[in-house]
């Protein structure tokens, strides 16, 4: 018997069974693949390609490298030069490139690239480029005469770094490091905005997730246990926000929560607070938390509901009949069974919250901004590479969270409804 089992099985006409099986199924498999092909293409073109492009932008910028060929060559040949005292040949190459930038009108692009790491250098480049054609050797003295800034070691470090297309500079900036005359260093306390915003964004997202969970749990339970007619009505109420524009909903919160808004008017009218003590609930962190909780609540309710719906009421009854109080029944029997829903809802809300842009932008004021608002800010300033670097760090953080989730709970237990 054991020998027969190891023998290669064949069909009646002698073909190997495995090959015959593959042949018999290949047509069905091809058809199935063709059916998913459009989706695969769509996902590839609209999701993977943009992300790949973003990641590429975060490490690539040729604004300076393409406009300064002479310096590129010189930096490549002298990797160990002293930024505090660059030799005359370096200045000569710089003047040659500046003149070229003037004729090719690339001063702005090149200057902006250096400006990302050493702020305030665009004007330096523009001024020098205008005069570059008239400069005579020794170029070092000539350039420093145009502007003493040309002798700054930080500037030379920046140009050396920018002379290659690929760079990690944007990640360094996004982690609150700055280029000083002595090289990269941590920024001062007041300059550390990126990591601060990262931490803040994650904390606020965690808080919003928690509030959503506390609010959504009873609603989802009601949805799952009410008679059909009532639960359908409740479901419509839950889904109603999905059918209204996000802008309308956010604006409604402005109407409710602003200083002359409905909530404050009501509190003043009831005498709870005085007219001069109106609460500031809008254009700050409170506004961001309230409005985002509202927007994200359905994303918590629906996964919870889908899990709770299939928990038979007999489990709770069994627990009660076995002698458990209603609290013990909830804690030891009901809650553990809703865990996949809690995990799925929390993951969904948290990831959505971390990347949320429009609500904090509208109601957050100066205090309620999140990391995505900073990404948008840099995009609006055409600093695509820095925006891409921050976004890539955000993506990495979320992937780490996702991995942690998989390790702790298991992604196969995720139930999204």
């Amino acid at each position: 018997m054991a020998e027969a089992a190891t023998e290669l099985l064949t069909t009646a006409d002698g073909r190997p069974l495995k090959a015959a099986l593959a042949a018999a199924q290949s047509r069905a498999k091809r058809r199935a693949f063709l059916l998913v092909l459009p989706l695969l293409l769509f996902v590839f073109l609209t999701f993977l390609v943009p992300i790949g492009y973003m990641l590429k932008r975060s490490v690539e910028h040729d604004g300076f490298a393409a406009s300064a060929p002479a310096l590129d060559v010189w930096f490549a040949q002298n990797p160990g030069f002293d930024p505090a005292n660059p030799p005359e040949e370096a200045f000569a190459a710089l003047v040659q490139d500046l003149a070229r930038m003037q004729t090719e009108k690339t001063t702005g692009i090149a200057g902006a690239r250096i400006n990302y790491t050493v702020p305030g250098t665009i004007s330096l480049f523009k001024k020098a480029a205008r005069e570059a054609a008239d400069l005579v050797p020794p170029y070092k003295e000539a350039l420093v005469a145009v502007d003493p800034g040309w002798a700054r070691p930080a500037l030379w470090r920046a140009m050396a770094s920018a002379s290659t297309v690929y760079t990690t500079e944007f990640y360094k900036v996004a982690s609150d490091r700055k280029l000083t005359d002595d090289g990269w260093a941590r920024g001062g306390d007041k300059e550390r905005i990126y990591l601060y915003l990262f931490v803040k964004t994650f904390l606020i997202s965690g808080l919003i997730t928690l509030i959503c969970l506390v609010l959504a749990f009873p609603i989802a339970h009601l949805l799952a246990t009410l008679p059909l007619a009532k639960s359908s009505l409740l479901m419509i109420l839950v889904l109603l926000p999905f059918w209204t524009s996000l802008l309308v909903r956010t604006t409604a919160w402005i109407a409710l929560l602003q200083e002359q808004g409905i909530v404050n008017d009501l509190l003043v009218g009831l005498g709870v607070i005085g007219d001069d003590g109106r609460l500031t609930m809008m254009y700050n962190m409170t506004g961001t938390i309230v409005a985002m909780t509202h927007v994200l609540l359905p994303f918590m309710i629906l996964p919870l509901y889908s899990v709770m719906r299939v928990i038979p009421p007999s489990y709770a009854r069994a627990a009660r009949s076995l002698g458990a109080t209603s609290w013990t029944t909830f804690r030891r029997v009901y809650l553990p069974q809703t865990l996949p829903g809690i995990a799925a809802g929390s993951l969904l809300v948290f990831i959505l919250a971390v990347g949320y842009y429009i609500t904090p932008a509208l109601v957050g004021g100066a205090d309620g901004q999140l990391i995505s608002n900073l990404i948008a800010f840099h995009m609006s300033k055409s600093n695509w590479s820095l925006a891409a670097a921050i976004a890539a760090m955000l993506l990495a953080a979320i992937l780490v969270l996702y991995w942690l989730y998989d390790q702790l709970i298991g992604i196969d237990r995720l139930k999204l409804g």
Binding site: S321, L322, G323, Q337
Partner: protein, 366 residues
């Protein structure tokens, strides 16, 4: 019918009514007393109120009116977890996130029992259902029959005096169901517990119970030991619900004590026992079990009325032969004959005369 609650009853329903919507009554004036150690089955079609009664006893539904007493104490307002009643559910309701051992430990933990005592009780309960080696499995890894045993063990592990079972064998296949019926009955006998069992399977009710309460339309139609229920149904619902049954419609022609002479709507005269049609000239439904129908004159009592019949079909069923007859104008009359060596073989189209002992034909409400 009503049974006056006995004072020594372990479980007593007294004038219990239940309505879910305030418009209709699901349970109408239920009076039932269950003795200690009794195996009582609530049998009835779906919607007859039997499960509602069980849920009221367990504490998951409140009685709209009336009293439910356990061991002489009114438990209407006692929450389910303080009633100390074990319960086995139709879908087993084993907690899927706990192992078998944890499932059994649950009722002991909430009662604050120590670890050593818990483990001793769990082991005893698992051994009782022959599942001693399954403590570390998850319910999902067990077959339906195994899950049923665990559910049973969990309902018994905290030594309840009363165990409720809500169609516990409904999801099992026939063979396993019969085996588990035997085991539950055996556990009941050896532990001396009181069992209230709900089912819609009459076979299950007849084989397991000390007494069966037949429910219909929110009332107990008959409360009797299985043999009485089958042989002496008190009304036409019970007669038709339990077992196979031939129906003949007619009016009472003569009445002497409980001996009745019934004239069928087609004119023939038959003998019957008056059960709850006690008025001369009143309409009645006569019920006869197929195995009590005779076609050989020597098997009938002397002077018994016989009735013409025509064989429509003979169905061979192995141990019995089933004859479908045309009697009194309708051809749904069934007669069962034992498949013995000397049995007369009837053929379709054959004309015979059938009769019976008068006590086997029960004149019931129409």
């Amino acid at each position: 019918m009503t049974v006056e609650p006995r004072n020594d009853a372990f479980v007593a329903f007294e004038h219990v009514q239940k309505s879910y919507d305030g418009v209709t009554l699901v349970v109408k004036d239920l009076n039932l007393s269950i003795a200690k150690g009794e195996f009582l089955t609530m049998l009835g079609p779906s919607g007859s109120g039997k499960t509602t009664c069980l849920m009221m006893l367990a504490g998951f539904e409140t009685a709209t009116h009336g009293e439910i007493k356990l061991d002489g104490v009114n438990i209407n307002t006692v929450p389910p977890h303080k009633r100390g009643i074990g319960m086995v559910f139709q879908n087993y309701a084993l907690f899927p996130h706990m192992t078998v051992g944890e499932n059994l430990a649950f009722p002991l933990e909430v009662r604050g029992l120590g670890k050593a005592e818990r483990e001793a009780k769990i082991k005893r309960a698992l051994d009782m259902v022959q599942m001693g080696s399954f403590a570390s499995r998850r319910p999902a890894q067990l077959s339906g029959g195994q899950q049923q045993r665990i559910a049973l063990a969990r309902a018994l592990v905290f030594d309840p005096k009363l165990v409720l079972m809500d169609e516990p064998l409904g999801a099992l296949d026939k063979q396993l169901r019969e085996h588990m019926q035997f085991e539950i009955k055996h556990l009941h006998d050896s532990l001396g517990i009181t069992v209230v069992y709900v089912t819609h399977d009459q076979g299950e009710a007849l084989t397991m119970s000390d007494r069966v309460a037949v429910f219909n339309d929110g009332r107990i139609q008959q409360l009797a030991p299985p043999a009485d229920l089958y042989e002496r149904p008190e009304n036409s619902f019970v007669a038709q619900f339990i077992g196979e049954n031939n129906k003949l419609f007619g009016t009472i022609e003569e009445l002497a004590g409980d001996k009745a002479l019934v004239r069928l709507t087609t004119g023939e005269l038959i003998d019957a026992t008056a059960v709850n049609a006690k008025e001369k000239g009143g309409k009645t439904l006569v019920s006869i079990r197929p195995e009590r129908v005779e076609f050989k004159p020597e098997m009938m009592p002397a002077g018994a009325h016989t009735i013409d019949a025509e064989v429509v079909e003979i169905i061979y069923m192995g141990d019995i032969l089933r004859a479908v007859l045309k009697v009194a104008g309708s051809d749904g009359f069934v007669m069962k004959m034992r498949n013995t060596l000397g049995q007369t073989r009837l053929a379709p189209g054959q004309k015979i005369k059938v009769g019976w002992h008068p006590q086997d034909a029960r004149a019931l409400d129409p």
